[in-house]
């Protein structure tokens, strides 16, 4: 649910990075944080365990610039990927404007990807959202590793609906901003239609 503030001429949107444990959601946000100009970003908050696994969420506010005299701000969130944090994941999806599904392209994580995608659909439905109507993109992360599932196969299993998708390597930052751009664009187009 975007927040349009006519008084301060601002528009705020919420984007959630979803995906199985250790797929690179937090790494995506960290890269965006490290590479964004000082004046455009706020503080990045990570509610993580001592072993740096996300416990509740990561949060990064990002100001992208102006559209038609309105400042556009995106609030980026990640969910905890581990299966047993499902109650927390549901809470973070509240009021979401766009979702990025970060898939772990490694062979041994194929089942985890499918399970997480099903979990995303279920949790969105519970909040009254339909994934097919929501701005949604998929990122196939870790494609630089040797033991990955071919992209065609990943696409067939995770993206039967043909939403915008791309490959990435969040550790080096390859594809990270491109993914953000893909989802931001969809969110803004949705806003234009008067949807969300």
């Amino acid at each position: 649910m975007s927040f349009i503030n006519y008084a301060s001429r601002e528009i705020n949107c919420k984007i959630v990075y979803y995906g199985p444990g250790l797929c690179g959601k937090t790494t995506n946000l960290q890269h965006i944080y490290n590479k964004s100009a000082e004046e455009t970003k706020g503080k990045m908050i990570s509610l993580a365990t001592e072993t740096e696994r996300t416990l509740f969420f990561d949060f990064l506010p990002l100001a992208l610039g102006e559209i038609r005299g309105f400042k556009t701000r995106f609030h980026l969130y990640t969910v905890p990927g581990q299966v047993f944090y499902d109650a927390s994941r549901k809470l973070i999806l509240k009021g979401v404007d766009g979702v990025v599904f970060v898939a772990d392209s490694q062979d041994e994580r194929l089942d985890a990807n499918i399970e997480s995608m099903e979990n995303l659909k279920d949790n969105l439905e519970e909040q009254g959202f339909d994934l097919e109507k929501l701005p949604f993109v998929i990122q196939y992360n870790k494609v630089d590793l040797p033991n990955t599932t071919p992209i065609e196969e990943l696409r067939e299993l995770l993206n039967p609906g043909g939403v915008p998708d791309m490959t990435a390597c969040a550790m080096t930052g390859e594809g990270v901003f491109e993914t953000l751009k893909l989802v931001a664009k969809q969110v803004l187009i949705d806003l234009k239609k008067g949807g969300s």
Binding site: M1, N5, K43, I45, P61, I67, G69, F70, G95, G194
Partner: protein, 165 residues
């Protein structure tokens, strides 16, 4: 009340009314900082000694806090916990829900007390609730017109591409 997934719109007139109300609450409760956040973590308004505060982070964490305790409430069969109180060594935070969807946060120290804050918050909540009701009505009535007048109706692909340059 606003439908849960509608776009939340704030107009100048209502924002001014809200600011008057929270400034009054700040004085009457003798508190340090007051801010209003929507349940999704967007900061709506703030007043008081906010210069050294990261209000964006505060807003997001407050909403996370309310969401988490709301989840706890449901687990034990409650609808929600409408008031949260965090006591610190110097500063305390009083968090309450206004009109079912907006979060009112009051930060205060020894110059005030929990009793005073609770009393003043209760009165201010009613007045703030009325403003948000008006806002909901206005958004509903203006919904179709706003879609036509919306500054975003004419966004072009170039506008969007420019954001990332």
């Amino acid at each position: 009340m606003l439908a849960p997934q509608n776009t939340f719109v704030m107009y100048e007139e209502e924002l001014n009314r809200i600011i008057v109300l929270i400034e009054k609450l700040l004085r009457e409760s003798n508190s340090k900082v007051i801010f209003l956040v929507d349940k999704n973590g967007q900061l709506i308004a703030s007043t008081g000694a906010t210069e050294n505060l990261d209000t964006t982070s505060l807003a997001s964490l407050t909403a996370g806090n309310i969401a988490a305790t709301g989840g706890l409430a449901k687990l034990i069969g409650e609808k929600e916990f409408s008031i949260l109180f965090h006591e610190g060594e110097k500063d305390n935070i009083h968090i309450s829900i206004v009109g079912g969807r907006v979060i009112l946060v009051v930060i205060f120290d020894h110059r005030s007390s929990l009793g005073l804050v609770r009393l003043r918050v209760k009165k201010a909540s009613e007045e703030l609730g009325a403003v948000f009701d008006d806002l909901a009505k206005k958004t509903e009535e203006g919904g179709e017109k706003a879609a036509v007048d919306s500054p975003f109706a004419e966004i072009t692909d170039d506008d969007i591409d420019n954001l990332f340059n």
